[in-house]
Symmetry: C2
Subunit: 236 residues, 2 copies
């Protein structure tokens, strides 16, 4: 039932929850009572239900998101303060990515992302890095599936994408130019754990034409390596 | 069963979960299968269970934490960049507070907080602000209960606390000097929603003796008002 809540539907009524879950109203009503008593859900003055603080607290124990974020945050802050641009941190979840952190730059280009939100792996800088280092079966699933167009520049030819992923592995970073919005450029690099496995990607997203991808790549690779070192080191 | 996970126990085995929940191993095993399939939990290579990315994602839809955080983050960033000190954002949950955001300052005084973590209302700057504006029954519950000592300076006399809470309401900010750790000073101010209700508190935590409480109060009150304005304005 918790899966019925989403970015587009952060608040739901009893009847909406019954419809979305396919469960009878009486069953949903009883479950809502239990979930609200525990704090997983909260009921607003308008009678609608939303995700509660207690569930957010339990969720914040997830090592793959909040744990990663705690290690990465000082370096993301540095990158944000030095560049004043958008800084993003994402992990792969199946054939999509999930944004774990986003620091908006003052006056930076608008971006489509939200912390906790999902996105396709094939268009953004972080997505391309995560796809380039995903298991082969995930790559095949993505490349043989429908590939979404966000702008006329979005690459949707599987052969072109395959070559691009090989380049990303060779170069150590990914460049996504006007592939998500026509005015943005993103450059991303992989974050690795102590076993050298790619566990996340960090990116800078700037106005297209405002900086060279190569200069951004040096910055973002430096930050990604610093985060990787922090992840590999024993937690203090 | 999700409530068995905590900051102190972020990873649990099947038998630990059975013990903590008081349910038979066979029942816990079946529930773990369902929770893992949905993504609420993830199983590590060591066979232990931890909170999964999916639950973190659902939790990130909570308006009282992540929603507040999204509005507040640009102002917290500004405060962090201008002062280079610790910036904290907290909400009240019953008779305790929950930290929603924490930005560590470079070289700032060490603090005891963790995002998603709980703390007493009676010692920190943010806690005193939240307690000062809590419903009377919550204040009574806290003031008549056991009051924890963190340092020799922690105020634990209910009468002294009562006067302090009145001062905080009158002054518009709270000062906590060496009450949580002997080397820290925190100054906090309330964040209000469109109906003028106090929904959160923001604070600066600095080395004791490094700045005047009054100067910090002006900074933190300015940020708190800016966040309040952003919360009251229709979301863009």
């Amino acid at each position: 039932m918790l899966g019925a809540f989403s970015t587009d539907h952060p608040e739901l009524s009893l009847s909406e929850l019954s419809r979305k879950s396919g469960l009878p109203v009486s069953t949903v009503h009883r479950m809502l009572g239990e979930l609200t008593a525990w704090g997983a859900l909260e009921r607003g003055a308008d009678g609608r239900y939303r995700i509660g603080l207690r569930l957010w607290q339990v969720g914040s124990l997830a090592p793959r998101s909040q744990g990663l974020r705690e290690h990465a945050m000082p370096f993301l802050q540095d990158l944000s303060q030095i560049t004043r641009e958008n800084v993003q941190l994402a992990v792969r979840e199946g054939a999509e990515l999930v944004f774990v952190e986003r620091i908006a730059g003052s006056g930076a280009v608008p971006v489509l992302t939200r912390v906790g939100g999902r996105f396709a792996l094939t268009a953004t800088g972080v997505g391309l890095v995560l796809l380039a280092h995903a298991p082969v079966d995930v790559q095949e699933q993505v490349l043989t599936g429908p590939l979404e167009h966000f702008t006329p520049r979005t690459i949707t030819d599987p052969q072109v994408l395959r070559r691009l992923l090989a380049d990303i592995r060779a170069n150590g970073y990914a460049v996504s130019e006007r592939q998500v919005t026509m005015d943005s450029l993103s450059v991303a690099a992989p974050v690795r754990d102590g076993d050298n496995a790619v566990i996340a990607a960090v990116s800078l997203v700037v106005h297209h034409g405002s900086a060279s991808p190569r200069a951004l790549a040096q910055l973002v690779c430096t930050s990604a390596r610093a985060i990787s070192r922090a992840m590999a080191a024993p937690r203090t």
